[in-house]
């Protein structure tokens, strides 16, 4: 029965949505402290290549590779973050965009390690590894009435879903705390924040590094979901795409990033029937949105109205 419902195509789109949500959050977190970072594609690439190379060459389990990838990206985040956080606004955006390009060019030219622009193939796949692991425990997908490849896609989807929920939990809890208030105050007025006793450099590095960690995590998972990566996957197009998720959905609230990634990943798939027009529609939609609602689809006011209506409905 389950076997008839589970459509591997939908599961795969779902998985891409979840990875894109992680990437959107990686932009949102630094942005919530007033830092516009376009380094997400670069950090994603570092996470992806680190994890792919470790699992290919050293036969490490995928989860070890993924953690190593995310850590490698965040270490780079700290190293790059400390000097570049003297910059702000568009200057930081350009510096981080440059960083992403430098990383991509290194991937292209370090032939012996990265296989250049051809990219890495034969990266261990997350779903297959989970399948083998379950079989080791004596579990067969057929026991719950699904085929092997359905199980593969389903397990990837569920792993990603759990990770996204964990990240959201982390970020939301952090926001509603002393740390979160410090980040928001830096975003609203960094000079006043500093004279309230907030070490702004420290908090900026914290937010920037968290962004790098989430991007590295998403990149590593991406590598093990797709099984094949090349430098072109981490070009500045990707950085801009991820920024659009956050800005489109609404950069003031975290749910905006989630919504933006969800909607903009799904839309080209839904619009497949108009084939060549779909990216035109995508473009027009962005232009219209920025003209009508520059703060993005969701913002604090809209969410408040929604909550208010709901609670009023509850009384009746």
């Amino acid at each position: 029965m389950l076997g008839e419902i589970l459509n591997t195509y939908y599961l795969q789109i779902g998985s891409f949505i979840l990875i894109n949500i992680m990437l959107a959050i990686s932009v949102y977190v630094p942005l919530s402290s007033g830092q516009l970072s376009l380094g997400s594609a670069g950090f994603m690439g570092v996470g992806a290549y680190t994890s792919a190379l470790l699992t290919i060459h050293f036969d490490l389990p995928i989860f070890v590779g993924v953690i190593a990838g995310a850590l490698a990206a965040s270490i780079l985040g700290v190293i790059v973050g400390i000097p570049s956080l003297r910059l702000s606004g568009v200057y930081l955006a350009i510096a981080t965009l440059g960083l992403g390009e430098v990383i991509r060019v290194i991937f292209v030219n370090w032939d012996s390690l990265t296989k250049g622009s051809v990219g890495l193939t034969g990266i261990p796949q997350l779903g297959r590894e989970i399948l083998e692991f379950s079989r080791g425990l004596g579990f067969e997908p057929a026991m719950i009435g699904i085929r092997n490849n359905q199980f593969v896609f389903l397990s990837i989807f569920l792993v990603l879903l759990i990770l996204v929920i964990a990240i959201l939990w982390f970020v939301i809890r952090q926001q509603n705390s002393r740390v979160g208030r410090a980040l928001q105050s830096i975003n609203m007025d960094d000079r006043a924040a500093e004279s309230m006793g907030i070490n702004i450099t420290h908090y900026k590095v914290v937010a920037f590094t968290q962004g790098a960690f989430f991007a590295g995590l998403a990149g590593a998972l991406f590598a093990h979901v797709i099984g094949y990566i090349s430098p072109a996957d981490f070009s500045y197009h990707r950085a801009v795409e991820v920024l659009i998720f956050t800005v489109f959905g609404g950069s003031e609230v975290i749910i905006g990033s989630v919504f933006g990634a969800f909607f903009l990943t799904l839309m080209p798939e839904v619009l497949r029937f108009v084939s060549e027009f779909r990216y035109i529609i995508y473009g027009i939609l962005l232009v219209v949105l920025m003209a009508v609602r520059p703060q993005g689809i969701l913002d604090a006011n809209l969410l408040k109205k929604f909550k208010f209506k709901r609670s009023k409905g509850g009384v009746r």
Binding site: Q174, R178, V179, Q184, M188, E194, I198, I200
Partner: protein, 257 residues
């Protein structure tokens, strides 16, 4: 002595905003800093909180040289300020503004915040209680959930004072707190500053409202074109020839006031 300013000079390019200004503030007093616009009063505040570093001179706070400390360190030492052109966290609630003010009085980091450890929850509760107490003091408790930018002008000024008090300062710097206030608001500001003083907090205030300054301050220093013109009690200042001249102009000089 709480604060000692020794020969503070500040040059911006070729222009000197402050020239060899020295004065000191005693514990528990309300000290006024007055002078015409552009005299260097706010620049002096920016030196004390090290938004700018002085070109030369020393700032001694409770016996310690704080001239080169980072602004956030100075707040940790016990100096906090308000701004002439209100600088609240405008999209944040009134309560959260004051809680940010308590940042230096708390220490939860990322992990204790995310995992809500017992110590973190207790600290958060204390921060909130302290913030509510201060909002009550400045008369804004009923507005604690209002977004700061939606407060009236006078209320925003009072919120800035509450936010500064949340850092538990021993020296409070107020930059024109009465600007734009009506008579009633100014009266209640007077009461508020007196209450702050009664809590053992030393106050350094820049203000243009002369009746308020004369009524409020224990001692006053007058700046004019970056130099200290006079220092003394309100009575001495009001009868000081040089001060009268700076404010009203010389009798012979018909051109400029």
């Amino acid at each position: 002595m709480v604060l000692e300013l020794k020969k503070i000079t500040k040059n911006f390019g070729g222009i000197s905003a402050l020239k060899d200004v020295s004065f000191s503030i005693n514990k528990g007093e309300i000290f006024g800093l007055i002078g015409p616009n552009g005299a260097g009063k706010t620049t002096m505040f920016n030196m004390i909180t090290n938004i700018y570093e002085p070109t030369s001179g020393e700032i001694i706070f409770n016996g310690e040289n704080i001239t080169a400390l980072k602004p956030y360190k100075i707040t940790e030492k016990g100096i906090c300020r308000t701004y002439q052109n209100i600088r609240l966290f405008s999209q944040m609630s009134t309560l959260h503004n004051v809680m940010v003010g308590g940042h230096s009085q708390s220490q939860s980091g990322v992990f204790s915040s995310v995992f809500r450890t017992k110590a973190q929850r207790k600290e958060e509760q204390l921060l909130k209680e302290k913030a509510e107490e201060l909002l009550d003091l400045v008369g804004l408790l009923e507005h604690k959930d209002t977004i700061a930018e939606n407060l009236a002008y006078g209320q925003q000024r009072r919120l800035e004072i509450a936010r500064a008090l949340a850092s538990n300062p021993s020296l409070l710097l107020l930059d024109e707190p009465a600007a734009g206030m009506n008579e009633n608001e100014t009266d209640s500001l007077y009461d508020l500053i007196k209450t702050v003083q009664s809590r053992g907090i030393t106050v350094l205030i820049i203000e243009h409202d002369m009746p308020l300054v004369m009524k409020l301050c224990d001692r006053i220093a007058v700046l004019n074109f970056g130099e200290k013109l006079a220092e003394g009690t309100p009575d001495e200042i009001q009868n000081n020839e040089a001060v009268i001249e700076a404010y009203l102009g010389k009798e012979e000089d018909e051109v400029d006031a």
